[in-house]
């Protein structure tokens, strides 16, 4: 079978994942042998097998899929009450061992049908102890020597096929490495400064320092490269999504992928993957017309969705474009007006960004075909979390184009250094649209000060005043100061500064969890002279400037995206610490307060597991519904049970939403929590997208 480079990458990812899952399965099964009636444990084992099956299906490993499916059947029996006999556990463990051997073999192109048949048979009839699989498909390689001779006894270990050339590494370890290399570089700069100050010698003139600097630079580059993965890693899900969706909708669609070799940080790619999938789904669902409509409009029968990735400086720009019907801007305006955010007086170029508001985007994008309903507001939020941004252009009848820009890496942040009130600040370059030299024209429109930048009028604020570090320059014209035009995802704003100091890559450190969240700061960086450079959070800055905070009022020409009205409290109930911590961190990052108990602070919403010791989540839900004071309290059930019967039980108990943990991710949880707390209104109709 011919395997393309892209498929090979995807299969390598599967091999890596399967290795981890099989190891976990082995451990869980051993525990299951001791605690055969532990339903939670059974669920965990089942989930691992199920996930492995799904992954095997995606990469087309039919034999692995068959064995995993047979495991599922055995585990389902155990969940129904079949005893976890040693023979059954033997069969399951045998299947795990068998798959450990089978995965690299079938990935190498070997036929393991017979092996899979025997494993499946052993799972279906576990009474006799599972014999170690004979090796009817002799593996290529040197004849077995003493080291590879079969061990005596029934448990024959799988022979090692080849030396490992990869090491699995937690991303956190790489992050720590990147951070340390960054600190080493900063320390080297400080040493250079000491040399200059105390010896009067330029660091470049000291060969040892020059070598150290060069080596550190190379080390930093290599370390950052270790986190890089090609954009094509997510090509397969994109293709699969496009194919399945087009078929289900009866549309003829070609997905054109370019720039798959473009590399970017794995963490960034993970954050971009879901937005990309969503935009492709949107393009097919809402953009591309049915074949008859296309032909009638004089278009080719096949619609095209183009996904192009390319590196542009320190960013990767991904374009998702379709040649469909475009976004119906009139409907966007109408929906915005109905939601209380009329776009009167706002130009089309800016009004189109209303599709990223939760109230508009949710209803327009949640549909049967768009799966879990990740809205365009969440696309925007996902991009913001990796310092990315999105631009959109649309022509009625011609198509739409979404342009996503994300940094290649988050470890080093290119910043524009500016001076305000005698202090230096870093403005992340990905948010900088332009820097305007002194002499720009300042006007007043409807009582607010605006700056004309080429053909656009933008509100302008004084940076120092917005930050509250000085009284600023008030409303007086200050066209003799330079200005920086920034974009916070969908809005642009100009800030007057005292001076533009240039551009530099800075190693940004977040301010940790000790401090309360500071909306105006993205982090801080240590300068070569030991001082601290504050790096600004442009979204927070623009919000503050437009709300008139700390400086002068600057009413927005466009209605702001509705922000949550203060932190809502969410009670998280789960006996699994990892899940609890995951849910807590997701909620707290989104500005909610996660509670561990109801004792002191009333909750605005409850997220609960089902299977827990002492009191399960359904009992908890019924108890809440039984309290007159709590009948309106939204309850979200988050569980690994995924059958329709379980879902009905939860809804009958009074749950407002049901999430399956296997599918639980940040977007889904926040979308559901936001909706139940009234922070994402679902209008009755769509807005074209």
């Amino acid at each position: 079978m011919e395997v393309t480079g892209q498929e090979a990458r995807f299969r390598a990812m599967f091999a890596e994942e399967a290795e981890g899952r099989l190891a976990t399965l082995g451990e869980l099964l051993l525990e299951l042998e001791r605690n055969g009636e532990d339903q939670e444990l059974l669920s965990s084992v089942f989930r691992e097998a199920h996930t492995l099956k799904g992954a095997a299906a995606v990469v087309g490993l039919a034999d692995v899929l068959r064995v995993a499916h047979a495991m599922e059947e055995v585990l389902e029996g155990l969940r129904r009450g079949d005893p976890a006999t040693p023979a059954a556990v033997d069969a399951l463990l045998g299947a795990v061992d068998g798959m450990r051997e089978m995965v690299p073999a079938v990935l190498a192109g070997e036929d393991r049908t017979g092996h899979a048949d025997r494993l499946v048979a052993a799972l279906h009839d576990p009474t006799p102890a599972l014999e170690p699989p004979p090796d009817p498909e002799p593996a290529p390689g040197p004849p077995p020597g003493p080291a590879s001779a079969p061990a005596p006894g029934p448990a024959q270990p799988a022979p090692r096929r080849e030396r490992r050339e990869t090491v699995r590494l937690r991303v956190e370890r790489l992050d720590e490495l990147v951070r340390l290399v960054g600190e080493a570089s900063a320390a080297a700069l400080r040493v250079g400064r000491v040399v200059t100050d105390q010896l009067g010698v330029e660091p470049a003139g000291v060969p040892e320092l020059h070598d150290l600097s060069r080596i550190l630079e190379s080390l930093q580059e290599r370390t950052l490269q270790a986190r890089m993965v090609p954009f094509g890693t997510i090509a397969e899900p994109l293709r699969r999504t496009a194919r399945d969706l087009a078929r289900s909708l009866g549309k003829a669609v070609e997905l054109e992928l370019r720039g798959q070799e473009t590399e970017l940080d794995r963490g960034v790619l993970e954050q971009v993957a879901d937005p990309m999938l969503h935009l492709v789904r949107n393009a097919i669902d809402h953009g591309i017309e049915l074949p008859e409509a296309r032909l009638a409009a004089g278009k080719p029968r096949y619609g095209t969705v183009r996904v192009h990735a390319a590196q542009l400086g320190s960013e990767v720009v991904v374009t998702v474009a379709d040649d469909g019907q475009g976004i119906d801007l009139a409907r966007v305006r109408q929906q915005a007006g109905e939601a209380g955010d009329a776009l009167d007086g706002v130009g089309d170029d800016e009004a189109i960004y209303a599709i990223f508001r939760s109230g508009l985007s949710t209803a327009a994008t949640v549909s049967e075909v768009s799966g879990r309903g990740v809205g365009l507001d969440v696309v925007r939020a996902s991009l913001a979390s990796v310092r990315g941004r999105v631009e959109v252009h649309s022509e009625p009848g011609t198509g739409s184009e979404f342009r996503l820009s994300v940094p290649i890496t988050l470890a080093v942040l290119p910043c524009l250094l500016v001076e305000a009130a005698g202090r230096r600040f870093g403005v992340p370059m990905h948010s900088v649209v332009s820097a305007e030299a002194a002499g720009w024209s300042e006007d007043h429109v409807e009582g607010q000060v605006v700056i004309r930048v080429r053909d656009t009028i933008l509100p302008v604020s004084d940076l120092a005043a917005t930050l509250g570090v000085t009284a600023g320059q008030g409303g007086a014209p200050a066209s003799d100061s330079p200005a920086v035009v920034v974009a916070s995802m969908t809005r642009r704003h100009a800030f007057r500064v005292d001076a533009l100091l240039g551009q530099r890559n800075v190693v940004v450190k977040d301010l940790g969890r000790l401090l309360p969240r500071l909306a105006l700061l993205a982090g801080a960086s240590l300068e070569p002279d030991g001082s601290i450079l504050l790096v600004l959070d442009v979204s927070g800055l623009v919000d503050r400037a437009r709300s008139g905070g700390a400086g002068r009022p600057a009413p927005s020409p466009t209605p702001a995206v509705p922000a949550p009205a203060g932190p809502a409290s969410v009670l998280v109930v789960d006996d699994t610490a990892v899940v609890r911590e995951l849910e807590r961190s997701i909620l707290e990052e989104a500005g909610y307060r996660a509670l561990a108990a109801l004792a002191d602070t009333p909750a605005d919403l409850v997220v609960t597991d089902v299977e827990m010791p002492n009191c399960d989540g359904l009992e908890l839900t019924r108890a809440i519904r039984g309290q007159p004071a709590l009948t309106g309290l939204p309850v979200v059930v988050a569980t690994s049970r995924f059958s329709d019967a379980d879902r009905r039980l939860a809804m009958d108990a009074g749950a407002d939403a049901y999430l399956v943990k296997g599918d639980l991710d940040r977007r889904t949880l926040l979308e559901v929590v936001g909706r139940l707390l009234g922070r994402a209104v679902q209008p009755a109709g769509g807005a074209g997208r």
Binding site: E183, A186, A187, R190, R423, L467, G468, V469, K509, L511, G512, R513, L514, L515, P516, R517, L518, A519, L520, L521, A524, L526, G530, S531, I532, L534, R544, A550, P567, E588, G591, R593, D600, T601
Partner: protein, 135 residues
């Protein structure tokens, strides 16, 4: 007798268990943090690490600390933090409990030679950075 480090904060003396103390920084160069609450004086550089400098008075619910010639670096669950103090800390022996205290993050007042020092509970004190309902 319990050993402690006495911290002068205005006219008051506070005490820290020696184990909580990492180091004392004289004349910390502080970078103000815009929009930070009164409990945060800013950030300072401790051997290449960016550390928040906290206003000890404000954390205790008292008057903010006027000047900060010294910073006492303590370890917390979320990394090091600096406490602003108005004089050079000094070691002392705490003799006996002379009475309870009401300020947040304190565990009682102790006799320390001629002085009375209020013993701090660093963890409870840091919790004041995240008051309920005020993230």
């Amino acid at each position: 007798m319990t050993r402690a480090i006495l911290l002068p904060v205005g006219r008051d003396w506070y005490a820290l268990p020696p184990v909580a103390l990492q180091e004392v920084v004289a004349g910390p160069v502080v970078t103000d943090v815009p929009t930070a609450p009164a409990t945060v004086r800013g950030l300072f550089n401790v051997r290449g690490q960016i550390v928040p400098l906290l206003d000890t008075g404000a954390l205790l619910g008292l008057e903010p600390t006027a000047a900060c010639p010294f910073a006492v670096v303590v370890q917390t669950a979320h990394g090091p933090a600096g406490l602003a103090v108005t004089g050079m800390p000094e070691p002392a022996e705490l003799a006996w409990l002379v009475g309870p205290t009401r300020a947040r993050g304190t565990v009682g007042a102790y006799a320390a030679g001629e002085r009375v020092a209020v013993m701090l509970d660093p963890l409870a004190l840091m919790a004041q950075l995240h008051p309920p309902g005020g993230r």
